[in-house]
């Protein structure tokens, strides 16, 4: 059962191993309460996230996709998230043109120490998606 009222949605999260995944772990260790709609996929770096991961997830049944990496300038591989930022911004602007609400896709930066911020991101994003409802009408 989701923390947010209503039927649980399917949200896919691509988290970089070094910052955001650590941030989510920090949130867990700190026992910060979070909605359970998010399914996390750990990737080595946000630069590993091909915009097609997001598109494929949205087409094949996800209601929303969250991508999170290290803050710019903090990338473990020094420049992965700089490339990611350009790609994801491009996708963010393309999706609404196609007719997919860009509110269903969000990218952000969370560091390994920001457990509270991670909790906030997940809660806000899940709340926003619950307001939009399921993407695929069955």
């Amino acid at each position: 059962m989701s923390e947010v009222a209503g039927k649980e949605l399917r949200i896919v999260g691509f988290l970089c191993n070094w910052c955001s995944y650590g941030g989510a772990d920090t949130a867990g260790v700190g026992r910060f309460k979070q909605p359970t709609d998010l399914r996390i996929i750990r990737v080595p770096c946000s630069g590993r996230v091909d915009p097609m991961f997001v598109v494929r997830a949205l087409i094949t049944g996800a209601d929303g996709v969250l991508v999170s990496g290290c803050h710019p300038r903090d990338c473990h591989y020094s420049d992965g998230n700089f490339y990611a930022r350009r790609r994801l911004e491009m996708l963010k602007r393309l999706l609404p043109f196609l007719g997919i609400d860009d509110k269903r896709f969000h990218y952000t930066w969370v560091s390994a120490s920001e457990g509270a911020r991670w909790q906030q991101v997940v809660t806000d994003f899940t709340t926003r998606l619950h307001a939009l409802g399921p993407m695929h009408k069955k």
């Binding site: 094949t60 700089f82 043109f97 007719g99 952000t108």
Partner: protein, 316 residues
């Protein structure tokens, strides 16, 4: 006559190159096909008219030796983009530029003559005369040109070693290029989804758009067909069709030179280039980048700035 000049240039450059890639008459006057000229006798087959639609620059990345290629203004952007991405060696290409006032779309001509068999076509400066069993019809080129010609900014090749005619300046306003994208943007999210669903649902996944695309350089490794990685299945469904078009659009992000080959070859008349034009419009806005214009540029997805002036963090 520029055809004569073109033939003279080809004869002149032929001894220095392996082959000259040009156009020749196809099975009828409306169809023009590529010709790879290797001997002086073949030069007589060369044609230049409004039916020369194909982007011959597409052949360049697969050429091993020094070649010459004949390009229109729009095709020359392909060469510039290849240079930006390091796909060709400029020293191995002789570019013969062909200033162009607009080409015809075969499909539009056929529609204009009610799909009657075309017996004869004669080309004038800005019109064509088509002979069919029910008589002759003169059609203005601007009425049957592909949409790219109506907003053409580069009638004269951006880059060339030889010019076969006098350079032409564009008389089309620069802000008209993305007018069709802006028109779709003004519609609601649901209307746009309905539009693209209808268009992409027509797709038969023949991949002609990919095969014709000069910037689709993966060839046999295209992930639309590989089993490893297995991005899309053979299943006949809208989702898979949409996925294919997203692969094409995203792999061309900031690289599409708007030559219109994808739309020209599409048997289902899907506006394949729309998504790519939208991305180009955003690239112009975000990074002030236009693909295939300056050989010194780098495609925006290949590089980054530590501080991106125009990318703002999104709030939840």
């Amino acid at each position: 006559m520029s055809t004569q000049k073109l033939k003279e240039i080809i004869t002149k450059v032929l001894p220095d190159v392996e082959t000259v890639i040009c156009w020749q008459e196809g099975f009828d006057k409306l169809n023009v096909t590529p010709i790879f000229i290797t001997s002086p006798e073949q030069v007589d087959k060369v044609v230049w008219n409004a039916a020369c639609a194909q982007n011959l620059a597409s052949y360049l990345p697969s050429q091993k030796k020094k070649v010459a290629v004949v390009v229109k203004g729009c095709d020359s952007r392909t060469i510039v983009q290849y240079m930006q991405e390091g796909l060709i060696d400029r020293d191995n290409v002789v570019i013969i530029g062909m200033p162009c006032k607009g080409i015809i779309s075969k499909k539009k001509v056929q529609k204009a003559v009610n799909n009657e068999p075309v017996e004869e076509v004669t080309f004038a400066d800005d019109s064509i005369k088509v002979k069919t069993p029910s008589g002759e019809k003169t059609i203005a080129i601007k009425d049957v040109c592909p949409s790219k010609c109506t907003t053409c900014q580069y009638p004269t090749p951006i880059i060339s070693d030889h010019l076969a005619a006098d350079a032409i300046q564009s008389d089309k306003p620069a802000d008209s290029v993305y007018a069709d994208v802006a028109e779709l943007e003004s519609k609601s999210l649901e209307e746009r989804w309905a539009y693209f669903s209808k268009e992409f649902d027509k797709c038969i996944r023949c991949y002609a758009c990919r095969n014709a695309c000069p910037m689709c350089v993966c060839q046999d490794s295209c992930i639309a067909e590989t089993r490893d990685p297995h991005w899309i299945t053979q299943k006949l469904s809208f989702d898979e069709k949409l996925m294919f078009h997203m692969i094409h659009a995203l792999h061309l992000a900031g690289r599409c030179v708007e030559c219109g080959e994808c739309e020209r070859v599409c048997p289902m008349e899907i506006p394949v280039a729309k998504l790519k034009k939208k991305i180009n419009k955003e690239m112009k806005e975000l990074f002030d980048y236009t693909p295939g214009v300056n050989p010194e540029d780098k495609p925006p997805m290949f590089v980054f700035n530590v501080d991106e002036a125009k990318i703002k963090e999104h709030k939840l």
